[in-house]
C-alpha cells in the first residue's frame, strides 16, 4: 500500500499542471477573498469565517476539480493506466491510493488557502475583518462552518474523479460538476416550476442544491448533507466497480 501511495504521490507532483492549478487556486482565493478587503470603505465588512468561506467560490472549485479529474483522466488519456496496473495488479490498492492522495491534496490545498487568506488579511485596513461582522461569501448563504467547506470541496473533487473514472474522459470530469452546480440544477428547478412541481422528486435530490442548503445551515446529519454525501458515495462506488471490472 505504501508503495502505491508513493507511486500516486510522484504521479501527482511530477506534472506541471498540478503546480499550476494549485498556484492558480491560491491566487484566485487570494484575489477573490482579500481584494474586496482593500477596496472596503467601511470597517467590519467581513467576518473571519466569511473570509475563509471564499475558498470555495466557483472559479476556484473549477481549478481544483482539474486535479480531481486528472487522477484518472491522465491515466486514460495517455494510456499510463496500463503501466500503473501492471505495477499494481490489485486494483483496489490503486483506487485507495488515488483516493487517499486526492484527499490529502484537497485538505492540504484548502488549509493552505486559509493560511494564505489569514496572512493576507493582516495587511487589510484595520478593522475590515472582525469576528463579530456578519460578513459575506460568494454563495447566497451566510458563511458556513469551515469543516463543512472542507467536506464540500472534498466531495466536489471526488465527484469530478468519479465522473472521469466512469466516462474515461478528463474533460467531462471538469465540465459535468461545473454545469450541474452552476446551470443545470437551476434550470431543472425552473422547469419544475413550469411543470407545477411535478418533478419535485428530482429537484429535491440534486447534489449541489442540497450541498448549498447544507452549507447554509444545519448540522452534519441533516437531509441535504446526507443527500450530497449519497451522491458523492454513490458515484464513487459506481466508479470503483467500473474500474475494477472494466478492461484497462
Amino acid at each position: 500500500m505504501i508503495s502505491a501511495l508513493v507511486f500516486e504521490w510522484r504521479r501527482l507532483w511530477s506534472i506541471r499542471s498540478t503546480w499550476i492549478m494549485l498556484i492558480s487556486y491560491l491566487g484566485s482565493i487570494g484575489f477573490f477573498g482579500v481584494f474586496p478587503l482593500f477596496s472596503a470603505r467601511e470597517p467590519g465588512m467581513q467576518s473571519w469565517i466569511g473570509l475563509y468561506n471564499t475558498s470555495y467560490n466557483f472559479f476556484s472549485l473549477v481549478l481544483l476539480s482539474v486535479i480531481g479529474a486528472q487522477v484518472f483522466g491522465h491515466e486514460y488519456r495517455y494510456g499510463t493506466i496500463r503501466l500503473t496496473l501492471t505495477e499494481f495488479p490489485k486494483r483496489e490498492i490503486v483506487m485507495i491510493a488515488k483516493s487517499l492522495v486526492l484527499l490529502f491534496f484537497v485538505t492540504f490545498s484548502v488549509l493552505l488557502s486559509w493560511g494564505l487568506l489569514g496572512f493576507l488579511a493582516q495587511f487589510a485596513p484595520e478593522g475590515t475583518v472582525t469576528s463579530t461582522a456578519e460578513g459575506f461569501t460568494f454563495s447566497p448563504n451566510p458563511p458556513a462552518d469551515l469543516w463543512k467547506v472542507l467536506l464540500f470541496i472534498v466531495g466536489y473533487l471526488f465527484i469530478a474523479m468519479s465522473v472521469v473514472t466512469i466516462t474515461r474522459n478528463l474533460a467531462l470530469g471538469i465540465v459535468i460538476p461545473l454545469l450541474m452546480s452552476t446551470i443545470l440544477e437551476s434550470l431543472l428547478g425552473i422547469l419544475n416550476q413550469f411543470a407545477k412541481q411535478k418533478f419535485d422528486w428530482i429537484t429535491t435530490r440534486l447534489p449541489f442544491d442540497n450541498a448549498n442548503d447544507w452549507l447554509g445551515d444545519g448540522g452534519l446529519y441533516q437531509t441535504p448533507g446526507l443527500t450530497f454525501a449519497a451522491w458523492v458515495v454513490g458515484l464513487y462506488l459506481i466508479a470503483s466497480v467500473m474500474f475494477f471490472k472494466r478492461d484497462a
Binding site: S3, F7, R10, R11, Y78, G79, R82, L85, T86, P89
Partner: protein, 303 residues
Amino acid sequence: MRVEVNNLDKHFGKTHAVRDLSFSVEPGRVTGFLGPNGSGKSSTMRLMLDLDSGSGETLYDGKPLTALHPVTRAVGAHLDAKFFHPKRTAFAHLRMLGAEARISKARINEVLELVGLESVAKKRPGGFSLGMGQRLGLAGAILAQPKVLFLDEPANGLDPQSIQWLRDFLKNYAASGNAVFVSSHLLSEMQLLADDVVVIAAGQLIAAESMQQFLTRAQGTNVVVRSPELNRLRDFLGNDGIEAKFEGLNTLLISGVTSDLVGEIAFKNNIQISELTLRSASLEDVFLELTESGQEFRVGGTK
C-alpha cells in the same frame, strides 16, 4: 521464472478475440509472439498481465500475478511507445514507475544511460520520436530487472543500429536466466532473435515450439541444384525414389533430402554440378503459409 498460460479466452462483443490459448514462456529463452494484424496478440498480452478480463489464467512460477511481490521485480512490460505523460520528464516517469520496487535514482540514471536517453533525462517526452518513446518504454520495463519481460512490438520506429542493440540486449537478458516474451511484425528480426515461437491467427494457437522446429514444420528444407545435365540427374534421383521438380529452366528443386545425398548421386553418375545449395524456409515463408487462412485483416479487404 516460467510463465504458464492456460486456456486464455476473450470476447469483445461478438468478436472472439482470443480462443482457448495455452502455451508457456520458458526462462533463459526469448519467445517470439507472432500473428497477423488483428490476430489477438495484444489482447493476449493484456490478458496475461491481468489488464483485461477474460477466462483462463496466467501463472508465474505457479502463482497468479496478484500474488507476486514486488510485482515489478517479477514482471516488466512495455506495451506501447506512447504510454507516458507528455509533460512528465523521462526521469520523473521512471522515478514514478520505480516506486513499487523502491528503485534508486542511481539505477534510473543507469537504465537511462543503457537505453541511450541520458542526455534527455530531464526533457519532457512529448517531443520524443517513436524510437525514443520505445527506449523510454523499454527503460520502464527493465527498471527493476524483472524475471519476465513482456514487449509488444519494441522494434517499431527503431533505426537498424538500435534494432541490433535491442536484439543483443534481449538475447543477453534471456541468457542471464530471464524469460523474454516479445511480439513483432519484423519476421526476419524475430528469426535472429527468438529461441521459441508462439504463433496465433484469429485468436487461435497455430504453433508453440522452438524456432528450429517451426522452420522445419512447413515446406521444410529444399536442395537447389543447377547443372547442364538436369534431366539425367532427375532420372537418377527418380531411380532412388527421390522426387525432384524444375524451378525455371536451369534449376532443380529437391525436397526431403540432404545436399550430401544429392551430391553423392551426381558424383556416382558423373554429372557435372554448377550449384548445390541447401535452401531453408524462412520464418516469413512458414509464417505466411501457416497463418494465411486465419488472417483477420489482409491487404485488399477483410476476410
